[in-house]
Symmetry: C2
Subunit: 215 residues, 2 copies
């Protein structure tokens, strides 16, 4: 009986990676993988992986490893990927397009059921295969479509307003790509990704030469 422990945040962020390599393994008709195999594919230690997986229960086979199919099932269920998630994309720019067309979404059960933009020129066009609606109808639109996750790809100055409307519409999870920090009330899940910040972090690690700069 898999004793489901509390799952540390750090572990949660790694589970999707395991899922990705497990799919690769399954595609190669691999039946079982050891923590060592997984370690090689994802790039961190075998101990780390055993510790992570032990949080989900204890279903590895000693002397053998983990059953690929079963492990995928367990991780999928833990992440809540066993059903469908209703997603809205707000902001029909290039990033919104990129996300709407990204195959990895639908493959994981994320369905884009609504799209919004404030620009009249974009309203009525297709984002992936979802028709873009006017942002003025967002509150009702999000409610009506039963959206659980809102993905924000608007300019920075619109982001907080969009978040507020989404929360009001009962959206429980927000993924913010706008280059500004937004606030959500207690109980709403939030993740923020800033593409510009990633480059800045890289920029730091670039000039690792001992540079004892003064003031």
């Amino acid at each position: 009986m898999p004793a489901a422990r509390r799952i540390p945040e750090a572990t949660v962020t790694r589970l999707p990676l395991y899922l990705r390599v497990l799919e690769e393994a399954a595609a190669q008709r691999t039946m079982t993988v050891s923590s060592e195999d997984l370690a090689e594919r994802v790039g961190f230690s075998a101990a780390q992986i055993r510790r992570d997986l032990s949080c989900l229960g204890s279903f590895g086979i000693r002397g053998v490893g983990y059953e690929v199919e079963y492990l995928m099932l367990v991780i999928n269920r833990q992440l809540g990927l066993d059903g469908e998630r209703r997603v809205a994309i707000v902001g029909a720019g290039n990033l919104g397009q990129a996300l709407a067309r990204y195959g990895g979404f639908s493959a994981r059960g994320f369905r884009v059921v609504a799209a919004f933009d404030a620009d009249p020129a974009k309203v009525g066009t297709l984002l992936g295969d979802t028709r873009v609606s006017d942002a003025s109808g967002m509150l009702e639109g999000l409610r009506g479509a039963g959206v659980e996750i809102a993905v924000i790809t608007t300019p920075a100055q619109a982001a907080q307003r969009v978040v507020d409307v989404a929360v009001q519409a009962g959206v429980g999870s927000i993924l913010n790509f706008a280059p500004t920090s937004v606030a959500v009330p207690e109980g709403v899940a939030l993740r923020q990704v800033d593409l510009g910040i990633e480059l800045q972090i890289l920029s730091f690690y670039r000039h690792r030469v001992g540079d004892p700069a003064g003031v």
Copy 2:
């Protein structure tokens, strides 16, 4: 004399956020900010911020706070944003477009000096305002343009090949958006962002109801 200490990785990832809110503050003609002010804007604790900034030297004014302009200068220099960084984008799809047009890049001194795609239909088109070249000329192209950072927005199966060529061309930093883990040799900086994984993490935190699922 600001004693420049070693900067923890966690701190580095926060510096760009400080920069962002400092710019907002500067736009509002704010001359100084306290760690408390900053904490409110970025959303973590004042102690955290003081600790982070103390790594860059000690130039806060007790009883007052930090000078906005000077703090920006210090952080910019630490991140290596005081000069220009030559960037290439590989993969001219929607995500590549989104990045090329993203204002936050040029504002921070990141210049897109080359773009590549394997699709003949894309070659010759514009990515932002950079002409897309054929991927077959990537090695020479990257070298010739003196690219320091390669941003990868190709499909997963092309990513590792692109990384290998980039490294061979002397590119020191890689930002990978392709949904697969790539490997780089020692000494090359690497960051990976998977848009799909962010959604999966959110999905986990969504169903926080006590769900004692069995096997």
